[in-house]
């Protein structure tokens, strides 16, 4: 640990204008924390290379601290505050009122003020500084900001082998507007009442908070298939240089209402409407392009299920398509590869793909015509 402390001291002297004393103290605090983490971690102890781990952890903390140092007091706190605000944004919901950007912002301000107090107290406690300690130099301030970020992102274990970041748990409690008396230690709540010596007065609140925490968790990802579609669609949008559609998509995935999306993207309702339409256009293009199988499978409208068409609709499709398209369809159903089909019907692979896309479009239209409302909502996904 002495080595690490000296190493960090040297690096702080090379990278900052802080005094000798400051450099020494900060280096020491990082070294002590890293030593504690390595000692407590079974994984690190078992790795057989504790020194390498120590150095790596120490380096990481140093880099984080220096990041804030180089930004200095003003830009540093803006960086910290925007990072933390973004993390808690969707968990801070005004009660009984539709969330809006401004309303959330105002609550986030209050919330983070409380959080910063908690963070400085935790810092003082964990580094064994006096309760009256506060940062005076730029290096000390940077050290605090780096700590606040790490503290916020600490993972707290939850029931069922899950975990959540500390600041998110705090934000959820804040949103539920628990009165101060029943504010329970979230870590305690997460681990469950472990010892019987704990007063049972608060156990009802504990139970309630735990239930709420689990209930408040945003929907667990539905399926691997959905994830695959989402990932590929996002990549498709970025590839086509449709950054604003990609942004819109990202916000829709968070279930944000239209007015909130407007405020975040700084659009008028009309502009948002146009963007929505452009998004749908690209969504359809994506669905009908070479990604068609993935999307169709997800919509349960793949070829094995006759494009999701009823028998009657299927008949209708047969009458609409050309003979060549009908032949292609048959060969596709038999599992033949695209190149082979193209050769069989006597066209190029490109021409085959064009025809195939037209075919899909027609199936799409037929499917949507009869059940327009429901089909549209499946498009929205």
């Amino acid at each position: 640990m002495e080595d690490i402390s000296q190493q960090l001291y040297s690096e702080l002297k090379q990278a900052t204008r802080a005094s000798d004393r400051n450099c020494r103290d900060v280096a020491e605090r990082i070294a002590v924390e890293v030593a504690r983490i390595c000692a407590e971690s079974q994984r690190i102890q078992a790795s057989g290379d504790v020194d390498a781990w120590s150095l790596s952890l120490a380096r990481h903390r140093l880099t984080q601290c220096l990041k804030y140092y180089q930004l200095k007091s003003n830009r540093g706190r803006v960086e910290l505050h925007s990072t933390l605000s973004a993390v808690v944004y969707r968990y801070i919901t005004p009660p009984q009122v539709q969330a809006s950007y401004q309303a959330r912002l105002s609550l986030i301000e209050d919330f983070l003020q409380g959080f910063y107090i908690e963070a400085i107290n935790a810092f003082r406690r964990e580094t064994q500084l006096l309760p009256t300690y506060s940062p005076r130099s730029l290096l000390e301030l940077s050290e605090y900001m780096a700590f606040a970020e790490r503290y916020a992102k600490r993972r707290i274990p939850l029931p069922g082998r899950r975990s959540q970041q500390l600041i998110i748990l705090r934000a959820q409690t804040f949103s539920q507007q628990q009165p101060p008396e029943t504010l329970v230690d979230i870590e305690q709540a997460a681990e469950g009442a472990s010892s019987d010596s704990e007063p049972t007065r608060s156990s009802a609140s504990l139970q309630q908070v735990r239930e709420q925490m689990v209930a408040q968790e945003p929907e667990v990802a539905e399926s691997a298939l959905r994830d695959a579609v989402v990932t590929q669609l996002m990549a498709y949008l970025e590839d086509k240089q449709q950054q604003d559609c990609a942004d819109y998509f990202a916000l829709r995935l968070q279930d944000l209402p239209a007015n909130e999306i407007e405020t975040i993207l700084k659009l008028t309702p009309r502009q948002r409407d146009y963007l929505q339409q452009r998004f749908k256009y690209h969504l359809i293009r994506f669905a009908l392009s070479h990604h068609w199988e993935l999307v169709h499978q997800w919509l349960e409208a793949d070829l094995e299920r006759n494009f999701g068409l009823t028998p009657w609709q299927w008949q209708q499709l047969q009458t609409q398509i050309t003979d060549q398209q009908a032949e292609m369809l048959q060969l596709k159903q038999q599992g033949m590869a695209d190149a082979a089909i193209a050769q069989t019907v006597g066209c190029t692979v490109n021409q085959f793909q064009k025809q195939w896309t037209k075919l899909l479009e027609q199936a799409w239209e037929i499917r949507n015509d009869l059940v327009s409302g429901a089909a549209d909502s499946s498009h929205e996904e």
Binding site: D3, Q6, Q7, Y9, S10, K13, Q14, A15, T16, R17, A18, D20, K72, S73, N74, R77, V78, H81, S82, T83, S85, A86, V87, Y89, L105, E109, L112, Q113, Y116, I117, I120, S134, P135, R136, S137, L138, E140, L141, Y144, V230, T231, M234, A246, D247, A250, L251, L253, Q254, I264, L265, K266
Partner: protein, 255 residues
């Protein structure tokens, strides 16, 4: 997907936050955290001109400069002074430092190739951050050596004159030191780029001071100076932060 959402939100939130940055619990108003000595920066311009295979960051130059200024008064031999100037920044490798210091003293400052054999054999990178630990130490030693040499005026019977130029943010400081070595007499003439003064400290706390209210020349002298002793010469410039540059004057024997 979440990454994009967070990035988007963070970007958007910045606007409001920049307009109204948060205050931390212990802050009652806007606080000044940057209490580092900015006065040093007046002198560092000159230091950037020091030829090094890899340029040193300003922070490093300031630290080395500060250390060297403190060490001018010490009675350590040159080699020991050099090591001491750098070991405050690199305390972990005293042996390596000593060895490298020896090389730096032996080789002229302009040919770092002599040092390559003792570092990792790799050539010096273009950026300081990419240098190895021993390269960083070597670079610091080279810089400190150059700084100490420039700040020290050694006068002998054969070499009774020394001239120094030092570029500052306010302009050029020009120094001319002349000695009558056998008599222990040293006179100093300085051209200051702005208002300031020159203070030459002789034996037993004697001070010879010359001051001016604008740019121009000043001159001071001291008598009965002893050989092998170090006498300090302070150049003070009247800039917003009062700041001084210290030289060391030594009378010696010819070898």
């Amino acid at each position: 997907m979440e990454d994009r959402f967070y990035a988007l939100l963070k970007q958007r939130l910045r606007e409001e936050i920049e307009a109204n940055p948060p205050r931390f619990p212990w802050e009652s108003g806007p606080m000044e955290y940057e209490l580092e000595p900015t006065a040093l920066q007046v002198w560092t311009r000159q230091l950037r001109a020091i030829a090094l295979p890899t340029p040193l960051p300003d922070i490093m130059m300031e630290r080395l400069f500060s250390q060297c200024q403190t060490l001018l008064q010490s009675s350590l031999r040159d080699g020991a002074k050099l090591v001491k100037a750098v070991e405050a920044i690199f305390p972990q490798h005293p042996d390596m430092l000593n060895e490298l210091a020896g090389w730096v003293m032996a080789a002229p400052a302009r040919s770092p190739e002599a040092l390559l054999a003792d570092t990792d054999g790799a050539s010096f990178p273009s950026q300081y951050d990419a240098a190895t630990e021993s390269q960083k130490m070597a670079l610091s030693l080279m810089a400190a050596h150059e700084i100490l040499e420039t700040l020290t005026c050694k006068l002998t019977s054969n070499q009774p004159q020394a001239k120094r130029d030092w570029l500052t943010d306010a302009g050029m400081v020009r120094l001319e030191v002349n000695a009558k070595v056998e008599q222990g007499f040293v006179s100093v003439r300085a051209h200051l780029p702005c208002a300031g003064c020159l203070v030459f400290r002789g034996n037993a706390g004697e001070e010879a001071t010359a001051r001016r209210a604008d740019s121009g020349s000043v001159a001071v002298a001291q008598f009965d100076l002893q050989p092998e002793a170090t006498y300090l010469l302070d150049i003070q410039l009247e800039l917003p932060e009062h700041t001084s540059l210290t030289f060391a004057v030594q009378l010696g024997q010819d070898h």
